[in-house]
């Protein structure tokens, strides 16, 4: 157990050390005067194929570009899923996907959610896995990264930039090179990378066993790096092919944290005050470590009901877990995947102990403990502005953030963004509980059933994508309702937050005085964490009591 905890500490330390250099690299990559010799020719090729030019966009044009090109991509991929049966690269003879499932899947991957109501082995052809899923796994995080960069530009009083250039740079300079290298490392560690169909073998005891394979390595690296999280196989990174050993697990955790942890430093560099970014980074890391501590202690204690059977249970709760990871790496992975809104799993979250499950839910509800690439950091900045606003109310001064006055217009947009998250989660869950179509899907009785439904919609709204997978969610009701929740959870806040950025960008900067509320010191860290917990707890505490907390108290 001590070695396991030590390995967690070392993993996190390496992630923390990578954050700053990667953050600076990101800031440089999106600096338009930086024409990287290695990547610029590729980017130019893409611009000339598509006919795009680098022109500054107003926030409205930036936001419409995001919405329209994402809609085009959803449509293209929807069509591929619907007709995959008759398209090439389908050696395992997989049939066309149903309309509602194809809608759900296309939206799911475009919104960086990767909720999966299909099973990879039997639901998608290799072509769909590649030009459908894999393609979206690049463009979805690149979209969110671009929006985050544009938002930071707005905060620092610059024009927002050009969405298409930002998206292409995100893919060519950040996502593709890292995914390529780590993809090959994964294969070296044992992850398959082949276009051959499923292998059939005769087992040692003489039975028949089918073993699904595929181009998994190239898929796995971008799945983690882009905080996508959708598995090539049904059980995601619990599958031995998708996570064969300790080192592969270690690299996956690093990749999930890489960009979300780096963005505060990108922000500090772009606004010209590294302390601003560092203080947010430290605040988020404190929340992360607190959640990890709760999860680890709950999972090591295990399930009292199983322990009462009298077996040897020093390992902790092993139902739904893999021996090569044990409790420590499973618990760590569950906290990292929900903090970074990735949604990959190496253990079944449905079988987590009630408090372990509570931590994963809380991470997604707050959506600010790092958060997914881009989208999460915009959310963090939103909470920072709320913190400034609350402090302003307390002292009776017009709040300022980075020298820009936060006024009625911005606060109205932020309040709407803040409310859409609980509205989607709680509203959709209420509908599911009230209709037989919804509650028929619940597979575990009692309080845990409530958690299953809440988890599904929280995961959708936060664009996480993991699930309490016992839920029978492959029906029209769930496909359509979660599809809508994912779409709104993603694009509503992109539009409103770009509007905030557009509004702030044109405001005159107020000179800093002795009376200015500073946003780069320890006091602000306290205000920020306070804002996250007070707003988050007030919103979600009642439903957490009904679900995981009640289950914990009655187990």
């Amino acid at each position: 157990m001590i070695v396991s905890l030590l390995s967690i500490a070392i993993t996190l330390l390496i992630a923390l050390l990578l954050a700053k250099p990667v953050g600076i690299y990101l800031a440089n990559s999106f600096n338009y005067s930086n024409k990287n010799k290695l990547f610029y020719p590729f980017e130019n090729l893409i611009y000339s194929i598509s006919g795009m030019k680098n022109k500054n966009q107003s926030w409205k044009v930036y936001a419409s570009s995001v919405i329209v090109i994402n809609a085009i991509m959803i449509l293209l991929v929807y069509l591929i899923f619907r007709f995959q049966g008759s398209l090439p690269l389908n050696p395992s003879k997989i049939a066309n996907m149903d309309p509602s499932l194809a809608f759900n899947t296309a939206v799911s991957f475009m919104t960086n959610t990767n909720l999966q109501h299909y099973s990879g082995e039997s639901g998608l052809s290799y072509l769909s896995q590649m030009i459908g899923i894999l393609f979206m796994m690049f463009v979805a995080p690149a979209t969110a990264l671009a929006v985050a960069i544009a938002f930071i530009r707005g905060l620092s009083g610059k024009s927002l930039g050009n969405f298409f250039v930002d998206m292409v740079r995100g893919i060519i300079r950040v996502l593709l090179p890292i995914a390529f290298v780590t993809g090959l490392i994964f294969v070296a560690l044992g992850v398959p990378q082949t276009l051959d169909p499923t292998v059939t073998v005769t087992t040692v005891e003489g039975g028949k066993q089918n073993i699904a394979v595929g181009p998994v390595g190239s898929f796995l690296s971008i799945k983690e790096l882009g905080n996508n999280g959708g598995g090539f196989f049904g059980v995601n990174s619990a599958h031995p092919f998708e996570n064969p050993n300790g080192p592969s697990n270690f690299i996956q955790i690093l990749l999930m944290l890489l960009l979300p942890m780096a963005l505060p430093f990108t922000y500090g560099k772009m606004v010209g005050n590294p302390k601003q970014g560092r203080i947010l980074f430290v605040s988020m890391t404190m929340m992360f470590i607190m959640f990890l501590g709760i999860s680890l202690s709950a999972e090591y204690q295990g399930n009292q009901a199983i322990n009462a059977l009298g077996v040897q249970h020093d390992q902790g709760s092993m139902e739904g877990k893999e021996v090569r990871f044990g409790v420590a790496q499973s618990s760590l992975y569950s906290v990292v995947t929900t903090a970074s809104e990735t949604g990959a799993v190496n253990t079944m979250h449905d079988t987590l102990t009630p408090l372990g499950g509570l931590v994963t839910l809380s991470n997604m509800m707050l959506n600010t403990v790092y958060g997914g690439v881009g989208a999460g950091f915009v959310n963090v900045l939103m909470y920072a502005i709320i913190g400034v606003f609350l402090s302003g109310l307390m002292v009776g001064r017009t709040p300022e953030f980075l020298g820009k006055k936060i006024e009625g217009k911005e606060m109205k947009l932020i309040a709407a963004t803040l409310l859409i998250h609980p509205f989607l989660i709680l509203g959709a869950s209420a509908v599911a509980f009230f209709t037989p179509l919804g509650h028929e899907a619940i597979s575990n009785s009692g309080f845990h059933g409530i958690s299953q439904v809440i988890y599904e919609y929280t995961s959708s709204a936060a664009n996480n994508g993991s699930g309490f997978e016992g839920l029978g969610d492959a029906t029209n009701f769930w496909n359509i309702s979660t599809g809508i929740v994912m779409y709104l959870g993603r694009f509503f806040s992109i539009v409103t937050m770009l509007a905030v950025a557009g509004s702030l960008a044109v405001k005159r900067t107020v000179p800093e005085t002795i009376g200015t509320f500073r946003t780069d010191n320890g006091l602000f860290a306290g205000v920020f964490i306070g804002a996250v917990f007070i707003v988050g707890a007030l919103t979600f505490f009642p439903v957490l009591v009904l679900g995981p907390i009640a289950e914990y108290l009655t187990l």
């Binding site: 085009i72 073998v201 619990a238 077996v311 739904g320 102990t353 289950e551």
Partner: protein, 204 residues
């Protein structure tokens, strides 16, 4: 006011003029990210490390595939080491587990049955020495490993069923045990499939 409506007009014109460009950009990125990237990685992987790229398959003397080192198999006969509980019977055409909640009654029932079956098959080993990984369903349903303790407690049963002495079996377990990589990552574990293949060789 006039400049405002002019702006709105410009935005509509912008989107309309750019739809074809956006479609072209989408298709270009689809080809780069969805085809060129995975095909290049597949090409390199197949040339440089074909064993891993094909799924770490294990062959017998007749060059027939008998499994994958990374994918567990069902072992029910008493003379083989048994692996973890799998609700999908180790059928790797899919993957999965029943996703039982900690409070699920079916799970408790299944575990009690596993314990009863254990007591019947392993009278020499009391239940309080039975490691929890042997009665719990793995996450994937394909877990190829058990803990070294879970292999050790099966030794008396296998010694009796095969006539191989316990010392030899323990040595076999050691040979098929993998420690933490770099002494740090992952947990110590025994590969049940390679262990049983080695056991079978001893029997022949």
């Amino acid at each position: 006011m006039q400049s405002h409506s002019l702006n709105q007009h410009n935005e509509k014109v912008f989107i309309f003029n750019n739809i074809v460009k956006m479609l072209r950009l989408s298709l270009a990125l689809m080809v780069i990210c969805g085809l060129v990237y995975p095909v290049v990685v597949t090409g390199i992987a197949q040339v440089v490390m074909p064993n891993q790229a094909d799924g770490s398959l294990i062959y017998n003397e007749d060059k027939e595939v008998i499994g994958s080192e990374l994918i567990g198999q069902t072992f029910t006969k008493p003379e083989y080491f048994s692996g973890r509980v799998s609700s999908i019977e180790y059928d790797a055409a899919g993957s999965g587990s029943p996703n039982y909640a900690p409070s699920n009654e079916d799970m408790m029932k299944r575990m009690k049955e596993s314990i009863a079956a254990w007591e019947k098959a392993n009278p020499a080993v009391p239940v309080n020495e039975l490691p929890i990984d042997l009665i719990t369903n793995s996450g994937s349903g394909l877990d190829p490993h058990i803990t070294p303790e879970a292999a050790d407690v099966q030794v008396p049963r296998i010694a009796e069923a095969t006539g191989i002495n316990e010392e030899k079996l323990k040595k076999l377990i050691k040979e098929n045990t993998q420690g933490r990589e770099l002494g740090l990552f992952g947990e110590p574990r025994v590969n049940v499939l390679t262990l049983n293949i080695a056991l079978e060789k001893l029997l022949q």
